[in-house]
């Protein structure tokens, strides 16, 4: 295992969270909760974007584990 794969795993989990939050926001009936969930989804999305960039950098450094 390398740092790269750990980061990748975190990245994938967060992407899953983003999708779950989005679907939960769609299903929620209460408007306030809906908005909070949606805003949280956006924040998670920003984190995911940053992580994706980092995953790319790590792949450059550990190119033998490339596969993303």
């Amino acid at each position: 295992m390398t740092v790269g794969s750990d980061v990748k795993q975190c990245f994938v989990s967060l992407k899953g969270v983003e999708a779950s939050l989005s679907s939960l926001a769609l299903r929620t009936l209460d408007d306030d909760s809906k908005r909070s969930l949606h805003e949280t989804m956006m924040v998670v999305h920003e984190v995911v974007t940053d992580l994706k960039k980092r995953v790319g950098e790590l792949e450059q450094e550990e190119f033998q584990y490339k596969g993303f």
């Binding site: 989990s13 209460d30 306030d32 909760s33 969930l37 940053d50 950098e57």
Partner: protein, 287 residues
């Protein structure tokens, strides 16, 4: 000539129907809270109905006239009460303050002819056993005692604790006795197909469900006819929360582990961001 028993039967059925519609017309107020006007008319209408049903020598239409007048007057007074506060106070009565600033108003108690025992009884009905816990209490015109406890004796609320709680909408009952209710389902914008999918996820069929409700988050909870069967409770929200927490911890770890200054900064910034996001949705995901 009609036999007497048949006459009584016809009259009784007729008056049950008349009384039913009269009560319907007078509305819910007549049966829920009896103000003294409603109390009087309620008794009179009943008596007239019974009297005419049994008293064969009486004219049936005289009875109906009596009932209609007794029903019309409270109806009209109800309309007038809506318009005028003075009239309302006169007809329906006003509340009498029994306890004010934590002190019993003995004069008001006497005025309403309530004994101390009766006051204590009314308080006990409101789960109050110690008069000193009460800040304010008023005897309503309907005879109920409304009690406001002193602030320190009032139940603790989320506001008192400065807790943020997620606001929710009322749950909808979508399955009753194994039958799908279409109207509540439409209210939350779901289809029968969706419901069947959710039931499949739980591994049960519609016929086995005694009661099924959908909460504010679109999660289906069911009670089955067979109480031996265990049904899974919705796990999605706690799962999202725990994944978010895990990722936040991971990001902190990465920040400590990396040697690149730039990456360190990026990790710690994002871990803080994620922590804020977790704090924000915690009340929603926890519940």
């Amino acid at each position: 000539m009609v036999p007497e028993w048949l006459d009584i039967a016809v009259r009784s059925i007729f008056f049950v129907v008349v009384l039913f519609f009269i009560t319907k017309w007078l509305g819910k107020k007549q049966i829920s809270e009896l103000s003294f006007f409603e109390y009087v008319t309620g008794i009179s209408i009943g008596s007239i109905g019974a009297e005419v049903a049994m008293g064969l020598e009486r004219n049936i239409f005289h009875g109906i006239i009596g009932i209609v007048i007794f029903a019309a007057i409270p109806f009209l007074s109800g309309l007038l009460s809506l318009k005028s506060k003075k009239f309302r106070d006169f007809v329906e009565g006003t509340g009498t303050v029994f306890i004010k600033d934590g002190k019993i108003m003995e004069d008001n108690l006497k005025k309403e002819r309530y004994t101390t025992d009766e006051l204590l009884e009314l308080l006990r009905k409101k789960d109050v056993y110690q008069v000193s816990d009460v800040e304010f209490a008023v005897l309503e015109a309907t005879g109920d005692l409304s009690v406001m406890l002193k602030k320190e004796n009032q139940p603790l609320t989320a506001k008192d604790l400065n807790l943020t709680v997620a606001s929710i909408k009322e749950p909808q009952t979508v399955i009753m006795d194994g039958v799908i209710m279409d109207e509540p389902l439409a209210t939350i914008g779901r289809s029968r197909a969706w419901l069947h999918t959710e039931l499949e996820k739980l591994g049960v069929t519609v016929e086995n469900v005694f009661l099924g409700q959908v909460n504010s988050y679109g999660e289906l909870t069911v009670d089955l006819f067979d109480d031996q069967l265990q049904v899974a409770s919705p796990q999605e929200r706690p799962l999202i929360l725990s994944t978010m927490k895990k990722c936040q911890a991971d990001l902190e770890l990465f920040a400590l582990g990396t040697e690149s200054k730039e990456a360190k900064q990026m990790y710690s910034k994002n871990s803080e961001k994620l922590q804020e996001a977790i704090d924000k949705v915690m009340p929603i995901l926890k519940g």
